[in-house]
Symmetry: C2
Subunit: 230 residues, 2 copies
């Protein structure tokens, strides 16, 4: 392909880096891997790859995400573009960061092993290569702001979950503890959860009822002017 309109312009390698987040044992986790190539081969890194010509940047991010996880159809949004000249020690690369929220329990670890990838607790995130720590930090900011007003947190859970689990998810997103009764009251007022008959007894003798997020009801209430807020 030759330039037909824009000539004598510089061109750049463009990468997509994925901040893949999960929730496990009451903590947010991030998937990191050992970098496979030089420079900084073996360093802790986000999942990344180069954008190819025949794909959009969103598609590239989805492809890269799929390569590392085997999962399609996931909640994924752009964080932003990172374009400092020397951000990549190899050569000039502009990177577009994306974050994905996954249900860590449905996660197939076999692919991850291939890339020497592992989940690390957000609170114990190691130093990552290049500007990847900044990407993670920016992601957390987005997550904190967005989870408060959109029901994106449910992407981190299976399709049934208990209220104690949901609460601890929000506690780990906001990094602060929440009053149990106030939290439940707010949820019940919004009326977007469906209570199931089954209980999860793995973490208490009494057991906690499972709930489901009712997306149809949520959409309907939003159309009626409800504002999600947690």
């Amino acid at each position: 392909m030759t330039a037909t309109f824009y000539q004598n312009k510089d061109s750049f390698l463009v990468a997509a880096d994925c901040i893949i987040m999960g929730f496990h044992e009451n903590e947010l986790n991030i998937l990191v891997s050992r970098r496979q190539i030089e420079p900084l081969k073996g360093g802790w890194s986000l999942m990344g790859g180069f954008v190819n010509a025949p794909e959009s940047i969103d598609e590239a991010a989805e492809r890269i995400f799929g390569e590392f996880t085997g999962i399609k159809d996931i909640f994924m949004e752009q964080v932003g573009a990172y374009g400092e000249i020397n951000r990549d020690l190899g050569e000039r690369v502009i990177s577009i960061a994306y974050y994905a929220l996954v249900n860590i329990d449905e996660f197939d670890t076999s692919l991850a092993e291939k890339y020497d990838a592992r989940w690390v607790r957000l609170t114990q995130l190691p130093e990552l290569v290049f500007d990847h720590n900044k990407m993670v930090k920016d992601t957390i900011g987005i997550l904190q702001r967005k989870a408060a007003v959109k029901p994106i947190g449910f992407n981190l859970l299976g399709d049934q979950f208990t209220l104690p689990t949901l609460q601890s998810l929000y506690e780990s997103i906001y990094q602060e503890s929440i009053d149990k009764r106030n939290f439940r009251k707010k949820l019940m007022t919004m009326d977007i959860l469906e209570k199931l008959d089954e209980k999860d007894k793995s973490s208490s003798k009494k057991g906690a009822f499972y709930y489901k997020f009712n997306k149809e009801k949520y959409d309907q209430l939003i159309q009626q002017g409800l504002h999600f807020s947690l």
Copy 2:
């Protein structure tokens, strides 16, 4: 420069597009220009240009902003990366959008004329080339969310302004009317404005007192845990 680490990877033209916003006659305005080059030469367009190799993407955006306005040191933040394959009809270009908030009255129009640029009311934005309307829409979303919790709106005003003007600024950002007394009460509670002795009599016989945003006081109060909210 030859690739030393990353070989056989596709490279891309990268552009920066600027959503330049001002506030005039109680309305948000956006600077648009007639596109100077093919394809779609003459179409309404945001201010844009290609990123050059020796600059970061932020620097490119600042340079392009400066070329069109002559202004340095402006409030400018990234909106995001736009990377659909055919978003630019010329050839494949990945664009990083930035928005800037400027004081429209200090604006030098001579440079703008050179590029056939003009301010148009946000409510009467014409159809722009490529995905520029989407960039504007995304910017408005960011502005609405961010102006509510950070004092970025003041960038759209001169360093002195009246309360009626400030209120109408927020009304045009949120696209809804605000009660005068409640608006003032909230501002006064935050205690971040400094009342001046002078009045602006251009829009009423009584005249409205000028105020200044006190950044030092604001920073200090933020450190003490105050949350800006309007």
